[in-house]
């Protein structure tokens, strides 16, 4: 009986100021969609860096006159570094073979080269791409080392752009979330105003404060939840219609646009809980300011 009362009151409130409720719902949806975008962007960049990081290695080119002893001590020195996951020695012959393989359709590149024209090297795989610069600096100038190269710059840029993009979107979504809370508060204010006579009598006959508040709380929660479900639905359909297809159409982007079920579920969970939070904040703002009980 109580629940029936609460829900019928809430339904009546929503119907009475439908337009305001629609405005609140759509603001919640849009702001949460931005928030969802931030999350997905983060996931894309994470996938990209994972993908790249797997390929990031430091190439230590060796001098042709390196002695056996120098090579051994260099190898053990590199292996001992805790940032290093794995070291491979690539001989001159192997390097030449790889080069031939890479350019097998253009034999003129290598046909005239003597097989020992490419330097031998150590290929150093790191535990994390961010150590690349440090490891490179460490090995540069070691006995027998000719040059050290690594492909970290691109990743650095990528991470910078990503963090900028995330910050901007996050700020925008927070501003919109505040607006959404204010709109919810205003919707509830109108509902309170429309029912001021009922509220007066409820106080008069001794309805408890929570009994008076709950229908309005529910209204705010309802608006926020519908907004959250809309944004969640858009995220879900974007995932299944857009990203999955893009990954299939452009195979090299496949790993970038494939998200695990858990990741997507995590995004949905964030959207719904932030939405519910916004609804609660908006409702309590309205109740505190406009419903003196």
């Amino acid at each position: 009986m109580r629940f029936r009362y609460f829900f019928s009151e809430t339904a009546q409130n929503v119907r009475r100021n439908l337009l305001m409720t629609v405005a609140a719902v759509s603001t919640v949806a849009i702001s949460l969609l931005l928030l969802g975008g931030v999350q997905i962007l983060g996931m894309i960049v994470k996938n990209m860096t994972l993908n790249w990081q797997a390929k990031v290695e430091v190439a230590v080119y060796l001098r042709d006159d390196i002695t056996h002893g120098e090579l051994q001590s260099l190898e053990s020195q590199v292996t001992q570094l805790h940032e290093v996951a794995h070291v491979d020695y690539v001989s001159k012959q192997q390097a030449f073979n790889e080069f031939k393989q890479q350019f097998r359709t253009q034999p003129e590149f290598w046909q005239s080269l003597p097989p020992d024209s490419l330097p031998a090297s150590l290929r150093v795989k790191l535990t994390d791409a961010k150590y690349a610069a440090g490891v490179a600096a460490n090995l540069r100038g070691a006995p027998g080392v000719d040059d050290v190269r690594y492909g970290g710059e691109i990743i650095k840029r990528l991470l910078q752009v990503n963090s900028l993009l995330r910050t901007v979107t996050l700020v925008m979504s927070i501003i919109l979330l505040v607006a959404a809370a204010a709109l919810i508060a205003n919707t509830i204010r109108l509902a309170i105003y429309a029912r001021r006579d009922e509220i007066g009598i409820m106080k008069l006959v001794g309805a408890t404060n929570w009994f008076i508040r709950i229908p309005f709380m529910l209204e705010g929660l309802f608006a926020a939840l519908v907004g959250a479900l809309i944004s969640g639905g858009i995220v879900l359909s974007a995932n299944s219609l857009l990203f999955t297809r893009m990954g299939k159409a452009l195979p090299f982007l496949g790993p970038v646009f494939s998200f695990s079920r858990g990741d997507i579920l995590g995004v949905l969970l964030i959207l719904v809980s932030v939405g519910v939070g916004v609804g609660l904040v908006g409702s309590s703002m309205a109740l505190r300011r406009f419903l003196e009980v």
């Binding site: 009922e198 404060n209 009994f211």
Partner: protein, 228 residues
């Protein structure tokens, strides 16, 4: 049942509504609070439901010191104090039945209780045939009866009436007073603010007269006043 000791009530801006008010009302009494407009009658009544709080002094209702009653307990106090007003305060979009039922529903009374008690109380106030009417289809006297039914349906210990006959013609007022008298006979304490001479003089109950926020007369079986 009701006791105030040295109550002072000042509104913002230094307007003094009540001054050194000490009143004691026993259980089952019928008390008229009389006095000109602005003498503090309504303020006194509002103290009893903690709608207003005294600037100084103490207010006891049903044995409880209202100053130490926490905010969340106030609704439970109000369930023991029924209120009737000059302007009825009925909800225009609800029927007679719904108006009275509302008072029970919002304090969480179960449906079967509501459906048993509401027709009973409306029978008591003489509106047993008009359950499905809306307030604007009723006369002023009938609307006040609905409002009394709503105040009394929960069987409060105290019934407060602030000028309940203020909007009614003398003949109708007599009917309302009979009803309040009947309610009083069930053991309910009735406190009624009024400046209706005829009613006070014909009822011959206790009269407390206020002037400028002070008690100037407290008389059992009194009349409205000499020279007014």
């Amino acid at each position: 049942m009701i006791r105030t000791t040295d109550v002072v009530k000042e509104y913002k801006g230094g307007v003094r509504a009540l001054y050194d008010l000490t009143i004691e009302i026993e259980k089952g009494e019928f008390v008229f609070i009389v006095g000109p407009s602005g003498s503090g009658k309504s303020t006194f009544l509002k103290l009893l439901t903690k709608e207003e709080e005294p600037t100084a002094g103490k207010v006891y209702v049903a044995g409880k010191n209202l100053a130490s009653l926490p905010g969340w307990r106030v609704p439970y106090l109000r369930r023991n104090v029924g209120c009737v007003f000059q302007d009825f305060k009925l909800l225009p979009n609800k029927t007679v039945f719904q108006n009275v039922a509302f008072a029970l529903e919002v304090i969480g009374r179960p449906r079967d209780v509501v459906h048993r008690q509401v027709p009973q109380i409306l029978e008591l106030v003489g509106l047993g045939e008009k359950l499905d009417r809306f307030p604007d289809e009723l006369s002023g006297g009938e609307q006040q009866r609905v409002s009394i039914a709503r105040a009394f349906v929960n069987r409060p210990l105290i019934l407060i009436a602030d000028e309940p006959t203020g909007n009614l013609d003398p003949a109708t007022s007599v009917g309302i007073m009979r009803l309040l008298d009947r309610i009083n006979r069930t053991g309910t304490t009735v406190v009624m603010a009024t400046h209706d001479h005829t009613i006070v003089d014909s009822m011959r109950r206790r009269v407390i007269e206020l002037e400028d926020g002070q008690v100037v007369r407290d008389q059992s079986r009194g009349i409205y006043g000499v020279g007014t």
